[in-house]
């Protein structure tokens, strides 16, 4: 049976419509994976000598055990955002003579072979070998290593439980933040010292390897919960059961003041508000707006003036980047309709432009309190906002004309990479790096004020030539009309 499943997967991978098109992203992911492997390997090899050097009077193994709690939290958090339960097209299998248990076991078993479970091995094994070389008792070290590997797999399954429970909620990442944050806080304020608890647990396993039975029991427990959760979902109607809520239709007549783009503005606002994925980009606004708070209070960054412009572009342009990079893929589901209707491309694009420009202005105004950290910061943000309106909006719309990836609006939101292609990564260069580099150069060679002014002038030029630029962009969209219709017709 497993053989058939593996065969199906092999085919679905190589026969997918976007195979090859998404090769760029795979190569990128490959490099990321390689980077992490090297990092972990270095950590595994170097950890023992470094700890010995820094804390000569302590046992490095003890120190590691005491920090395991943080590893658990970080791993859990990381996995939540980046690891997804491997999916399989189960619908066609349901009517075939395959037991549901086999399907569920296969999907869960497959998840154990995730990259995330192998990564810690690169640190655990070299560290364990070092321990053995340094004459630690062999059986204990092996027991300890095995315990850690089991822990990795426990986290693997724990993550899926959290994911499946939180995917129903509006803000899917809130439960995990509260969960890990809560544990961290309890530990940090010494209410319950998880560091010690976890530390002594693994020291216990090291001393008495048969304690591993506890880990096995936890693993079995997590697995069975996952099993039940999945088993319940393996019915055709499980997706239909969700009650269809009555919708409340807001009156968007106020958009009429934007003139002939009004129908498209209404459509875009509804698009954003009524679909999970786009809605999450609204929540990203808060993150973007507060982004500066990670850096400005820190005296290290106070001196790095060129960094202001990065944060300025990012915090005033978070919506622009998030929303703009998937124009026109947001409308991919009904692109054929738009193309056969009596519309002007220019109006369609202008509506997107207006939304983005308004968001930049609003985010700049909301970000005015940053003046608390100095006038220079506000001025840099102002320059960044003008640059965003005048240059980045156009750049991102222009980039959209190379967009060939369909987005299925009904799918879950956060960190969903559907629709992402090489263009989305490349567009980041002019968007963020060019203004940052230019600013850094001018700031270093001339002065802060001139650097800001140059960005403002570029932005203003973009605004002045808005009509001309839009005509050019519209032309680009018209050129690739047929390719887009064709691409948006395919599921990826």
């Amino acid at each position: 049976m497993i053989k058939h499943f593996l065969n199906l997967e092999w085919k679905s991978f190589f026969r997918s419509a976007s195979f090859g098109k998404s090769l760029g992203i795979k190569i990128f992911m490959g490099f990321m994976a390689l980077y992490f492997i090297v990092m972990f390997l270095a950590m595994g090899v170097g950890l023992f000598p470094i700890l010995k050097k820094l804390f000569p009077d302590q046992d490095p193994l003890n120190i590691v055990n005491n920090y395991l709690f943080y590893w658990l939290l970080a791993d859990l958090l990381f996995r939540f955002f980046f690891q997804k339960l491997p999916v399989m097209q189960v619908k066609p299998l349901l009517t075939l003579p395959i037991s549901r248990n086999t399907i569920v076991n296969y999907v869960l078993g497959k998840s154990a072979f995730s990259f995330f479970n192998f990564l810690p091995l690169f640190a655990i094994i070299p560290f364990g070998i070092t321990l053995i070389v340094k004459d630690y008792p062999l059986a204990s070290v092996l027991g300890w290593m095995f315990g850690l590997i089991l822990t990795t797999i426990i986290i693997n399954f724990l993550n899926f439980i959290i994911e499946s429970l939180s995917s129903e909620t509006e803000l899917s990442f809130l439960p995990i933040i509260i969960f890990t944050g809560g544990l961290f806080a309890l530990d940090y304020f010494n209410i319950i010292s998880f560091t010690e608890l976890i530390g002594s647990a693994y020291t216990g396993i090291y001393n008495q390897p048969y304690f591993i039975v506890t880990l096995l029991a936890i693993l079995g427990f997590c697995y069975s919960i996952n099993f039940q959760l999945l088993h319940k979902k393996l019915f055709l109607d499980s997706g239909l059961k969700t009650e269809i809520k009555e919708v409340n239709t807001a009156n968007l007549d106020w958009t009429k003041s934007f003139g002939d783009v009004a129908p498209f503005m209404q459509l875009d606002l509804r698009l954003i508000w009524r679909n999970k994925r786009t809605k999450s980009s609204v929540w990203m606004l808060a993150i973007g707006l507060l982004y500066g708070l990670f850096f400005y209070p820190n005296p290290v960054y106070q001196g790095m003036v060129f960094f202001y412009i990065f944060i300025g572009i990012f915090s005033t342009g978070i919506f622009l980047i998030n929303f703009g990079q998937f124009v026109p893929a947001w409308d991919s589901g009904y692109y054929k309709l738009l193309m056969s209707q009596n519309i002007k491309y220019e109006q369609y694009l202008k509506s997107k432009f207006t939304l983005m420009a308004v968001s930049v202005v609003a985010l700049f105004l909301l970000g005015i309190p940053y003046v608390y950290f100095g006038w220079k910061i506000l001025f840099a943000h102002f320059a960044a906002a003008i640059y965003n309106v005048g240059v980045n909006t156009h750049v991102i719309l222009w980039g959209g004309s190379y967009n060939r990836k369909k987005i299925n609006l009904d799918q879950k939101a956060a960190f969903n990479y559907q629709g992402t292609g090489a263009v989305q990564w490349l567009i980041g260069i002019p968007l963020l790096l060019i203004p940052m580099g230019l600013f850094a150069l001018l700031n270093w060679s001339l002065s802060f004020e001139i650097a800001c002014l140059v960005l403002i002038v570029m932005g203003v030029l973009g605004i002045i030539f808005h009509q001309k630029i839009m005509q050019f962009i519209t032309g680009k969209y018209l050129e690739s009309k047929y390719q887009m219709i064709d691409a948006f017709d395919q599921e990826n």
Partner: protein
């Protein structure tokens, strides 16, 4: 009037459509039948300039459709569910289409109200998004949306599929009325020979992308079509 001349569409050397000469006069109800892969949807997609012809052209009311966009104001279509905007309610969708065709809310309301019967009380005022409607109800909304704004050419791909018997009969009434009384050119494709012969004045049979029969509908037409498709 829609004139098609030397129209062909090839996909990597494989010819899926070739129509040497086809004229559809204004106000005709035109039916297109053929087995799967005969080229019906391809022809409609070419009519709407959604794909590029390999050779030839379609001229609709003196406008070559892949050269100018001036055919859009008087042409409307419902090909499949991808013509619907899932996150709108049917009313919002009608208003949106209406707006694109220069109709205000009141006009759209009045227009849509005529189809109360056709909707069977399942579309209007339900406060549901289009994506949450059943396939049949989605189709009803899509068909009516294609009639908003007095189009002169209406293109419907498989309009009878997925509809319940009552609605099929009502749809036939609507189509006949459009062509006979209002002079709308209406193009329909269908697998249902009975329905097509009922509503269309003229029926063209496509086979492997080419026109093999071009019939003016009369009592014998259904028999002839059935005979054609049985072998």
């Amino acid at each position: 009037m829609i004139t098609t001349s030397n129209l062909s569409k090839k996909y990597s050397g494989n010819q899926v459509l070739f129509i040497e000469d086809l004229e559809i006069p204004k106000g005709q109800s035109f039916g297109l039948v053929g087995n799967n892969g005969a080229g019906k949807t391809t022809y409609f997609s070419l009519l709407l300039d959604l794909i590029q012809p390999s050779t030839g052209e379609i001229v609709s009311h003196d406008i070559q459709v892949n050269k100018s966009e001036a055919w859009k104001p008087f042409t409307s279509a419902f090909i499949d569910e991808s013509f619907l905007i899932g996150y709108l309610t049917p009313e919002e969708y009608f208003y949106f289409i209406g707006e694109l065709r220069g109709q205000n809310k009141a006009t759209v309301d009045a227009f849509v109200a005529q189809f109360e019967d056709f909707f069977h009380g399942e579309i209007l005022g339900k406060k549901k998004y289009l994506r949450d409607l059943s396939k049949g109800n989605q189709k009803k909304a899509g068909i009516v949306s294609a009639l908003i704004g007095n189009p002169e050419v209406v293109i419907l791909d498989e309009p009878f599929a997925n509809l319940d018997p009552t609605t099929q009969i009502r749809l036939k009434g609507i189509v006949k009325d459009l062509a006979e009384k209002q002079g709308v050119t209406i193009l329909i494709s269908s697998h249902d020979l009975l329905h097509v012969t009922d509503v269309c004045e003229r029926i063209v049979v496509l086979e492997k992308g080419e026109v093999v029969k071009d019939l003016i509908t009369n009592e014998a037409t259904l028999k002839e079509l059935e005979a054609h498709f049985s072998n």
